[in-house]
């Protein structure tokens, strides 16, 4: 068996991918710049909330790793890689911040971050072992524990009315006119007013919607850096947009094929759901086919919850539901794709 033994000497001497830590910090930058944009319009309260969630998450992680190290030292085992340097706690805290309204009391956000770290992340074994995205878990807890505070923080949001009347700022008018004259005129179409303002929204809403322009820039960075697979958000947004166009208006008393795609994509946390929650690898599926099914389910549920369930942030519930279905789909994947190969 010398042939095989000598094969054991051979191993990759390089790694061709970005490390987990780099990926987490890139996600943190993506979320962070969206929070900063929101903070520019709320006198820094978005930033203060981010500071609370990040602080709470880091504190919890430090405590957990301290306890783990103590335990391992008692057993005489050396501790492996881990700790806040991997950036996962910061990334989760910042994503949680994105999912929350900027005017909700920060203490709730802090509690959500602690719940996300302790219950969602570490009780299942730490980074990569959670069954639902930690930030999403934290958001669900806040949403159901303090529904009144949540609703109050969203009072005045354009999402509360079915067909919002979009106000045009001078910036919106100027940019829309420019785009219509220089680009859309070639296709015979036109961008109605009000959508550019959605990118710089100062109205009540979750921070992801308020910092949309920066969030879109951030998603370009993480997609270009191959932190996530580009086709996951692309399919999610594509299916979601198609459903909105076909049935979106119908659900709100309008006609077929009159749904407002841009408003649907630019609000309700759709972008953060597509790029950060749906594309989260830890809660995803094993195969490309499985992930394809999950993404389509996520988009269909998101549309259903938001437009027919009248839940403005239906996309978050939809992804939590898909995360819950993931173990079932994974077991099917095992049997169909991998079980015959020794797994």
């Amino acid at each position: 068996m010398r042939v095989l033994d000598s094969k054991l000497n051979l191993k990759p001497q390089v790694n061709l991918s970005r490390s987990t830590a780099v990926r987490m910090w890139l996600v943190s930058i993506c979320a962070g710049i969206a929070i900063i944009q929101s903070a520019l319009m709320d006198r820094g309260s978005s930033l203060a909330m981010a500071a609370v969630t990040v602080g709470a998450a880091i504190m919890v992680e430090l405590l957990i790793f301290y306890q783990a190290r103590q335990g391992m030292a008692r057993k005489g085992v050396s501790s492996g890689g881990g700790g806040i340097a991997d950036g996962s706690a910061v990334a989760s805290a910042l994503i949680l911040t994105l999912l929350l309204p900027n005017s909700i009391p920060s203490v709730y956000a802090g509690f959500g971050a602690i719940f996300a770290m302790v219950v969602i992340k570490h009780s299942f074994g730490g980074l990569g072992s959670n069954w639902v995205n930690p930030a999403l878990g934290g958001w669900l807890v806040i949403r159901f524990s303090w529904p009144t505070a949540f609703e109050r923080a969203l009072e005045g949001s354009p999402l509360n009315s079915g067909f919002p009347v979009l106000q045009n700022s001078p910036l919106d008018t100027a940019v829309s006119s420019f785009l219509n004259d220089k680009i859309f005129s070639f296709t015979g179409s036109g961008l109605p007013g009000g959508y550019i303002d959605r990118l710089f929204s100062g109205s009540p809403g979750i921070i992801a919607d308020r910092g949309l322009f920066a969030l879109l820039l951030g998603t370009i960075v993480i997609t270009a850096s191959q932190v996530n697979r580009f086709w996951i958000p692309a399919i999610f947004l594509g299916v979601y947009a198609l459903l909105i166009r076909a049935f979106g208006a119908l659900a709100l008393g309008g006609a077929l094929w009159e749904g407002d795609i841009l408003f649907g994509l630019f609000s309700g946390g759709t972008i953060v759901a597509a790029f950060l929650l749906m594309a989260d690898p830890a809660t995803g599926l094993k195969s490309t086919a499985g992930m394809f099914v999950a993404v389509i389910l996520g988009a269909v549920f998101s549309f259903g919850f938001r437009y027919f369930g009248r839940e403005a942030y239906g996309a978050f519930f939809a992804i939590a539901l898909v995360n819950a279905l993931a173990p079932l789909i994974r077991s099917i994947e095992y049997r169909r794709l991998y079980a015959r190969k020794g797994v």
Binding site: M1, R2, V3, L4, D5, S6, K7, L8, N9, L10, K11, P12, Q13, V14, N15, L16, S17, R18, S19, T20, A21, V22, R23, G80, G81, G82, A85, D86, G125, G126, L127, G128, S129, P281, A282, G284, L285, K286, S287, T288, M291, Y334, L337, Y338, K341, G342, V343
Partner: protein, 434 residues
């Protein structure tokens, strides 16, 4: 012309630190040559010279002992000044003769005597190959007579596959060899086809090198063996035996050509076969790609077997900065070198020194289930699940699939820097084969 690729997984690997494939440089002759007695898969060759003896260039210094072993020859003339030993994997000891260059060369710089082989029988040709210690000039260095002996019981047709698939830029040495010694490789193929009684020769070339493949095919017309060209994809590990066979079986089906059993050999092995039979010359040197981000002037070199790796780096201008890792083979599947006195052996096709930025190492962390290992696995395994079963559940010995051939793709793309292929291959060997 249709390009055949394996169906799933693999990765496209490019590296700006590989040497240029335009030409080769001949390395200086080593003053001290270190000739290991194990340069093959089997037991060490039995030394037939002692310390203090004088040896000639190309003289037999180690005789093969049983299956897996191959003859070893001196690559420079001189005096055997000492015998050194070091420990290899699993505690096996390798010995090497250290030869200090003295006296004159019998082959180098002399007019080469050419022997005709066309009237020789396969048995006689194999004897020359065996005496010259010809092994597969890559991987584990399996002796050619051993490979041929496994083909003997095979009934039906046999095809010699000349593996010129360059799925890894670190195969630059083989590429340069193909260009500079095209006639020798093709004639070596014809000789090997005669030895193995192959019915046809297939030149398997990456699609990017199809022009070179056409030159091979044109040259092969000088011999009586039917030959054809098959273009393959360039995704790593297309060169791997399993992936190459998949492609060739697909070709067989599409083109309605009966290939039968396959004898797959690389161009370096076939050039060595040519030299052994036509020039009566054992393996004295080989093409080696020298590079990596830490090396000042990467280049493909023609290096005497036994030359120490440190000397080769020195000839390439030395290091830019302290290397993080020095290894032989390819960055995708190589072996770390701990001592620069380690010599180039018959299967050394590349040596490289990398700076930290190229190694791209990081602290191993928890698996984030990103699934990239599953995407790149050419066999369609689930490396994440296998790794977790072996390391966490400790139940790997019974159900680890033998399909893993250790291409290393999963480990090379793991963002958590987990030693996936190393652990899985190790478990496969321990659980099923030991």
């Amino acid at each position: 012309m249709k390009v055949y690729s394996f169906p799933q997984g693999g990765l496209l690997f490019d590296d700006s630190t590989v040497p240029s494939r335009d030409s080769s440089e001949t390395a200086y002759l080593p003053v001290l040559s270190v000739i290991p007695l194990i340069q093959h898969t089997g037991d060490r060759a039995n030394p037939v010279v002692s310390v203090g003896d004088f040896v000639r260039e190309g003289m037999l210094v180690g005789r093969a002992q049983g299956a897996g072993s191959a003859n070893i020859h001196a690559t420079i003339p001189g005096k055997v000044v000492r015998m050194v030993s070091w420990e290899m994997t699993k505690g096996q000891t390798n010995d090497a003769l250290v030869i200090r260059m003295e006296g004159s060369f019998e082959k180098l710089g002399k007019r080469e005597e050419i022997f005709s082989w066309k009237n020789l029988s396969p048995f006689e040709l194999q004897r020359f190959i065996s005496e010259s210690g010809i092994v597969e000039m890559e991987g584990t260095g399996r002796p050619i007579p051993d490979i041929l002996s496994t083909l003997r019981p095979v009934q039906g047709s046999l095809t010699l596959v000349v593996r010129c698939v360059f799925d890894d830029p670190w195969l630059a040495a083989d590429y340069v060899l193909c260009r500079e010694r095209l006639k020798a490789v093709v004639e070596g193929s014809a000789i090997m086809a005669r030895v193995a009684s192959a019915d046809r020769i297939v030149f398997a070339f990456s699609c990017k090198e199809k022009d070179l493949g056409a030159l091979f095919l044109a040259e092969a017309e000088n011999y009586k063996v039917p030959a054809s060209l098959v273009l393959t994809g360039s995704r790593y590990p297309q060169r791997n035996r399993r992936e190459l066979e998949l492609v060739l079986r697909n070709y067989e089906k599409k083109e309605s050509v009966e290939l039968g059993s396959l004898l797959v050999l690389g161009p370096a092995t076939l050039a060595a076969t040519h030299d052994a039979v036509k020039l009566k010359k054992p393996i004295l040197d080989r093409y080696v790609a020298v590079g990596g981000s830490a090396v000042k002037n990467p280049q493909v070199m023609r290096v005497r077997i036994g030359t120490r790796i440190g000397e080769i780096f020195a000839e390439c201008g030395g290091f830019i900065d302290q290397p993080e890792r020095i290894a032989v083979g390819s960055p995708l599947l190589g072996r770390t070198v701990v001592d620069l006195d380690e010599p180039v052996i018959k299967s050394t096709y590349a040596v490289f020194a990398m700076l930290g930025s190229q190694v791209n190492d990081a602290v191993p962390r928890n698996c984030i289930s990103c699934g990239e290992c599953r995407i790149v696995c050419p066999v369609g395994l689930d490396p994440e699940e296998l790794y977790k079963r072996i390391t966490v559940k400790k139940s790997g010995n019974t159900d680890v699939p033998s399909e893993c051939h250790g291409c290393g793709c999963c480990e090379a793309v793991c963002p958590s820097r987990l030693p996936l292929s190393s652990v899985i291959l190790n478990a496969a060997v321990k659980g099923q084969l030991v």
